[in-house]
């Protein structure tokens, strides 16, 4: 299938197809760049800490639930926890309702709600984010042990 031997009308059609696909690709790229901010499903703790997230508007915030940060508030279903980007940025989230089964400390979550003027994120809905790593319970237990003895297991969840 040498290009040089191709009949000229076929080559023209090939070039036309390449042109159409490139044009469509270019248009899509520009559209996606223009919409970039809107396609992100959530704001990261860093963005919220930097003040990039609007206050008082319904948005989503995502991050890792910090270890030992989950506290029950009051008698009901109220709960508060801290989400972080595993670096410095932290945002406190308050939520009243039923958390998903997969919610736990050290796991990713995405909360829908509003940022109040004190910088606390008041959530109406909390979703658990799952990473792409799968393992049987025994392996997880073994990893946990290894981790406690200081071995880096290379686990991450896409918030960096």
């Amino acid at each position: 299938m040498k290009f040089g031997r191709m009949k000229s009308h076929r080559r023209n059609r090939l070039l036309l197809i390449v042109f159409i696909v490139c044009a469509a690709g270019g248009a899509t790229t520009f559209a996606l760049f223009a919409l970039n901010e809107n396609i992100n499903l959530f704001y990261s703790p860093d963005q919220i800490a930097q003040g990039e997230a609007p206050v008082g508007k319904t948005i989503r915030a995502g991050g890792m639930v910090q270890d030992d940060s989950v506290t029950r508030t009051g008698e009901g279903l109220g709960v508060s926890f801290v989400i972080s980007d595993m670096k410095s940025a932290q945002v406190t989230v308050e939520f009243e309702g039923i958390l998903p089964d997969m919610f736990r400390e050290g796991q990713g979550v995405i909360a829908l709600g509003q940022l109040n003027s004190e910088g606390v994120f008041v959530a109406e809905e909390v979703l658990a984010k799952h990473d792409e790593n799968y393992m049987p319970p025994e392996v997880a237990a073994a990893l946990e042990e290894a981790h406690e003895s200081g071995v880096d297991t290379g686990q991450k969840a896409g918030y960096e």
Partner: protein, 245 residues
């Protein structure tokens, strides 16, 4: 190579060659599907966090992979038809569209079923889910365009161009989880990177992926054979073939 390509482009030759492949291919596909599903549902260990709902992955991930590579194949056939005007390529585009749409639908539905217990929601408008929904609509668009322009001149070309333009959606699906913050996690299955799961969970997934492809190819081939018979029903070789039966 080019010669072989041209010979296979003849409907009669394709019909004869595919006739020999049909039964072994489909049997192998069904065997692997049954074996892989039994393995995934009964013997694979549950996940440390998701528990048994991890088994949905063995239906979902191959469907999602095939939904995208099925589109690549459809667009490839569309390009061949536009450039070389090989009629069999148009038949291939026509026959793969409903298959691709079904597989994409399966990926969307199993994803929603997995999403409810894992994320806590059936659906969220994140980049990965939305672009996959667009993929589904593209398949539906190719099907709808063909039935709307039925038997008009240029129907094949119109469908082929639509299929080709839709290709821009594929990199968006693939990289959506890297380009934007999304709820959907990055790829679970890759042949080129280190698996994100132990071998006893990864191997049945590989079996299921291969089984899906084999099933896809055999059903696609059967549909093409059927379409060839319809389109060539007035030729001598089809009449002869039918007379033997």
């Amino acid at each position: 190579m080019l010669n072989w390509f041209h010979r296979l482009g003849s409907p009669k030759t394709f019909f004869e060659i595919s006739g020999r492949w049909q039964v072994p291919l489909l049997s192998l596909a069904v065997l692997m599907l049954a074996g892989g599903a039994a393995w995934a549902l009964l013997f694979v260990p549950p996940d440390y966090q998701q528990g048994n709902s991890v088994r949905i992955m063995y239906i979902h991930v191959p469907a999602a992979i095939l939904a995208q590579s099925g589109y690549v194949m459809m667009a490839g056939a569309a390009a061949v038809f536009l450039i070389w005007r090989i009629k069999l390529a148009d038949v291939a585009v026509k026959c793969v569209a409903p298959l691709g749409a079904s597989i994409t639908f399966l990926a969307l539905v199993t994803g929603a079923i997995w999403g409810k217990p894992t994320w806590g929601t059936w659906w969220v408008w994140d980049a990965r889910l939305t672009s996959t929904l667009v993929l589904f609509f593209l398949y539906i668009g190719v099907i709808a365009l063909r039935s709307a322009m039925d038997r008009q001149a240029g129907v094949g070309r119109a469908c082929a161009i639509l299929a080709l333009v839709g290709v821009v959606n594929l990199p968006v699906i693939k990289y959506s989880v890297d380009w934007w913050y999304s709820l959907h996690q990055p790829a679970s299955f890759s042949l080129t990177e280190k698996p994100s799961m132990p071998i006893e969970m990864w191997l049945p997934l590989l079996v299921m992926v291969i089984a899906y492809y084999l099933f896809f190819f055999s059903v696609w081939m059967m549909r093409i054979r059927n379409e060839i018979l319809v389109r060539e029903k007035n030729t001598d070789w089809v009449k002869q073939w039918l007379a033997v039966r």
